[in-house]
């Protein structure tokens, strides 16, 4: 699924059922992938801690989707200026709607405001948005997140400056 300007660096595939049977898979996979991607970075340590943080948040969201049926494929691509991480999985109608609504706004400033108001809910012991972790990575790390629906597959794309 890499375009001509995007070079596929690595692709990893999980059986969704296996992935979702142990919470620690999020942490392990995030750290492993982050280290792999960062091994050639200017500052491998800092880059890897940052990448692991953002990948883990997205994997935790995916874990909570409880999509047990098919596979989860993670593709890592290099577009020269950006690192692109595609999380490809099939999703129930309900989950697709959730992401459609989450991605209806793509104004970064607006999303930061939403994050702050969601944090306020946390502080007030109210229930916060279930994707608050995604708001946070957009607000804190300038991660660009997008969602694309293709036949049979849904792609959550994470783009960060290389």
């Amino acid at each position: 699924m890499a375009t001509s300007e995007e070079k596929l660096l690595l692709s990893v595939s999980y059986e969704m059922e296996k992935f979702s049977n142990d919470w620690r898979h999020c942490d392990y996979s995030a750290s492993y992938l982050a280290q792999l991607i960062s091994s050639r970075a200017t500052d491998p340590t800092k880059q890897s801690i940052m990448l692991s943080t953002v990948i883990n948040e997205l994997l935790e969201v995916i874990y909570h989707l409880k999509e047990k049926t098919r596979s989860l494929m993670i593709e890592i691509k290099d577009s020269g200026s950006d690192i692109i991480i595609d999380f490809c999985l099939s999703m129930s109608e309900k989950n697709q709607l959730l992401f459609n609504s989450f991605f209806s706004c793509n104004d970064a400033e607006q999303l930061k405001k939403v994050y702050l108001s969601e944090l306020k809910r946390v502080v007030n012991n109210e229930e916060a948005h279930r994707f608050i972790g995604l708001y946070e990575i957009i607000a804190d790390y300038d991660v660009q997140l997008s969602y694309q629906k293709k036949p049979e597959i849904n792609i959550l794309r994470m783009k960060l400056a290389a």
Binding site: R40, I49, T53, E57, G133
Partner: protein
């Protein structure tokens, strides 16, 4: 998810370590218990130290944040200081949000303020000093490294690596299986990376931004040969750095240090003015918390770190052992750095700085003169980890 949370009553500090990525709130009971206990016992200022927590997920962050709120509300006389590290990207981002919700919270980046002289050491005016020094040291150090146990194919970590010249030279000479450099100066690291790239070696020579006193991103027992050159002497608590060097060194591996007796740098003719100059320079370093007379103290520090086979050798750089031209360039770089950055940080006046400049110039003349002599004493020490 493996994290530790500990409260130290003496420092009134809760320290978080490891990786905190829980699935459920129950996994954070220890955090809640420790924070509640700390809030109960602490008076005045409570410190929450996150500088060794490599990861935290949002779920844990929210719990910690809520608990901080509980403490702030329940203890109106308590102030909280959150300690973060510039090495851990999430810590500054996440913790800054907390300040938006609660009063009596402050955030301190602990690695902004390791030791009083940090600013003068980490600025880019120091780069010419480091570059030229390595050049005149290497011919002798190469031999001493081998005598102190560095062999081809070993894995090497150079802590406080500066601009990376040493790493490049070790790479060429000893062909290590792996070599990394860690430093806390961004200008130095940028310089080091540029040189590696220019030489087509950026895949082999890896430079990491980090704090020598907190190398949490390196596993225990990872390297065969751990070096820390001309650097223990700049810290006011060298034993803390040594502890980390020891931790990352393999059992049977070596820790290798070099340090100076800077005030004993000599020259002839004009010996007196030259000696006085270096004594003054050493005092100015001392004023900023750096001990450039650390060389002879290494034996006792290495013993305290429980190393065996401790060996100490002199490495005397003289006008005989190195090119006079290169030695002169080193002293020029010292003069420019010490009479400007260092003297200014010491709040020395113009007259003092002029006199000091003349002292360095006398040393330069001694080096240039065919009948003159100059020396710079460095001490090389190593020990084996049991």
């Amino acid at each position: 998810m493996t994290y530790q949370v500990m409260y130290n009553q003496n420092d009134q500090m809760v320290t978080f370590t490891g990786c905190m990525r829980p699935q459920t709130q129950e996994e954070l009971l220890e955090v809640n218990k420790t924070l509640a206990m700390a809030a109960e016992k602490a008076m005045g200022m409570l410190y929450l130290n996150f500088n060794r927590l490599e990861f935290i997920n949002n779920m844990a962050f929210h719990e910690v944040m809520k608990h901080i709120g509980l403490i702030i509300n329940a203890k109106p006389k308590l102030t909280i200081k959150i300690i973060i590290s510039s090495v851990i990207p999430w810590s500054e981002k996440k913790m800054t949000w907390i300040k938006q919700f609660y009063d009596r919270i402050s955030i301190e980046q602990y690695d902004n303020n390791f030791y009083p002289g940090q600013e003068v050491i980490e600025n880019d005016h120091f780069i010419p000093v480091l570059r030229t020094q390595t050049k005149i040291i290497w011919a002798q150090e190469k031999k001493l490294l081998a005598e102190h146990g560095l062999k081809k194919g070993m894995s090497v970590a150079d802590i406080c690596c500066g601009v990376g010249d040493f790493i490049s030279l070790v790479y060429q000479e000893f062909n290590p299986s792996q070599i990394i450099g860690i430093d806390h100066s961004k200008p130095n690291l940028n310089y080091a990376r540029r040189i590696a790239e220019d030489n087509g070696l950026s895949d082999k020579l890896k430079y990491h931004y980090g704090d020598a006193g907190n190398l949490f991103f390196i596993r225990d027992n990872e390297f065969d040969f751990v070096t820390c050159r001309l650097s223990l002497q700049i810290f006011d608590k060298p034993e803390l750095i040594l502890k980390e060097l020891h931790r990352i060194c393999k059992p049977g591996g070596k820790i290798y240090l070099t340090n100076e007796t800077y005030s004993k740098t000599l020259g002839y003719p004009q010996s007196e003015i030259i000696s006085r100059t270096y004594e003054e320079a050493s005092k100015m370093f001392k004023f900023l918390g750096m001990d450039l007379e650390f060389g002879p103290k290494m034996n006792s520090y290495l013993q305290d770190a429980h190393l065996k086979d401790i060996r100490i050798d002199p490495m005397m750089i003289t006008t005989d052992s190195t090119s006079r031209e290169d030695f002169k360039v080193v002293v020029e770089s010292w003069r420019d750095y010490i009479c400007n950055d260092l003297a200014i940080a010491n709040k020395k006046d113009e007259t003092y700085r002029k006199e000091l400049t003349q002292g360095f110039n006398s040393h330069i003349r001694a080096i240039e003169s065919k009948r003159g002599f100059a020396s710079w004493p460095i001490w090389v020490a190593s020990g084996t980890k049991s």
